[in-house]
Subunit: 197 residues, 2 copies
DNA sequence: CGCTAATTTGAATGGGCACTCAACAAACAC
DNA sequence: GTGTTTGTTGAGTGCCCATTCAAATTAGCG
């Protein structure tokens, strides 16, 4: 029961998850082999299994980290600006990210949710992440209405959902590798469709 | 060179592709094993390989069939009604399809394009299918404008792209298993965002 | 400096995968 | 009927996958 001589792991768990995240994001779940993950993280199989149980567990941990990272990035968009400006910054960032030529810019949550639609654990985590973002959108929209940036009769919940649709549509559309101006035009169209005050 | 005694295959190529399509749509590419496909199609491995070369070739053939099927379904929406009504029918159909509880309702093209983003052949085919749909949207929008259903100043190309974003967003949002009323509300919001005359 | 409990190491393992092939069967020409 | 070409059959093949484990290594503690 008692443990005195504790040996701390030599690797940085966060860095490992970051690498694993990137690998899953690029190749998807099934196409990523444990050898890929071993190469990407620099850990040996035994250490990976000791830390995360198995490949599935590693994906879950990576999703968890992705969730945190995304929440941070989102908050950064809202910091110090009006709610509506924050939303605009958020979508401008997504458009810019989607426009870059690397295909790793896809949303890990969406990609994995599409691939592992049958897995209840993955589904739950994906839904939680997306739900949290939608709730954050709704909060921002409410605040925007309070500040007079949005029509007083607008329904924040409905519009938050609408923004989520726009977000996922934007990311999906970006798979066709359109130019950056097309993506920016889409974002502009999305904001034009909001009942701004 | 000369071939006289031809033996016709015993199976129905179209039915085989239909089954293969459904299997890929449910499980994705990597998670579908050749055994799955053998079971789904009823063919033996040798016949499958003789007909399609390999797993990748079978996916390509399935995508081709999906493309044709989707084109037919799309035209059915436009038959005998005004262009705008045709578009409404199309999106109502997608919403209804996405609302049903089976997870196999996802778009095969989108799912496969997300999973095999690195594969140029798959990418080309996906892009072609999506591009054709977008062009059909643009055509319908032009016709709607000509019939006075759409604002005269509307840009059909831009709006067609906007409908594609709405379409993919709708389908992606449906992964979270919202109720049918939410999906219908999204479609309503999409059409409200169009500059209808 | 042992002693103990933890991590690290990396070769080994068993299973399942995509794919093959040699024997067989059917269809047509003559 | 016979020959030839094609489709069918399904057990077999080798490879690569996720996972394991026993041995080596390291850190804390008296």
């Amino acid at each position: 029961m008692r443990s005195s001589p504790l040996r701390t792991p030599e690797y940085d768990r966060d860095a490992v998850l970051c690498r694993a995240m990137a690998t899953f994001r690029e190749k998807g779940y099934a196409a990523t082999t444990m050898q890929d993950l071993v190469a990407a993280t620099g850990l040996h199989p035994g250490s990976l299994y000791a830390a995360f149980g198995n490949k599935h567990g590693l994906l879950l941990a990576a999703l968890e980290r992705y969730d945190q990272e995304q929440a941070q990035r989102t908050e950064a968009c809202f910091a110090g600006v009006s709610p509506l400006t924050g939303l605009r910054r958020f979508f401008a960032g997504v458009a810019a990210e989607s426009a870059c030529t690397e295909p790793s810019t896809a949303c890990l949550v969406a990609k994995v949710a599409s691939e592992l639609g049958q897995d209840p654990e993955i589904q739950a985590r994906s839904r939680a992440t997306l739900g949290r973002l939608e709730a954050r959108f709704a909060e921002a929209l409410e605040a925007a209405r309070a500040e007079g940036e949005l029509s007083a009769v607008a329904n924040a919940q409905d519009l938050a959902r609408w923004l989520m649709v726009g977000l996922q549509g934007l990311r999906a559309y970006a798979y066709g590798r359109p130019g950056p101006e097309a993506l920016n035009a889409i974002v502009a169209q999305l904001f034009q469709s909001l009942p701004l005050a």
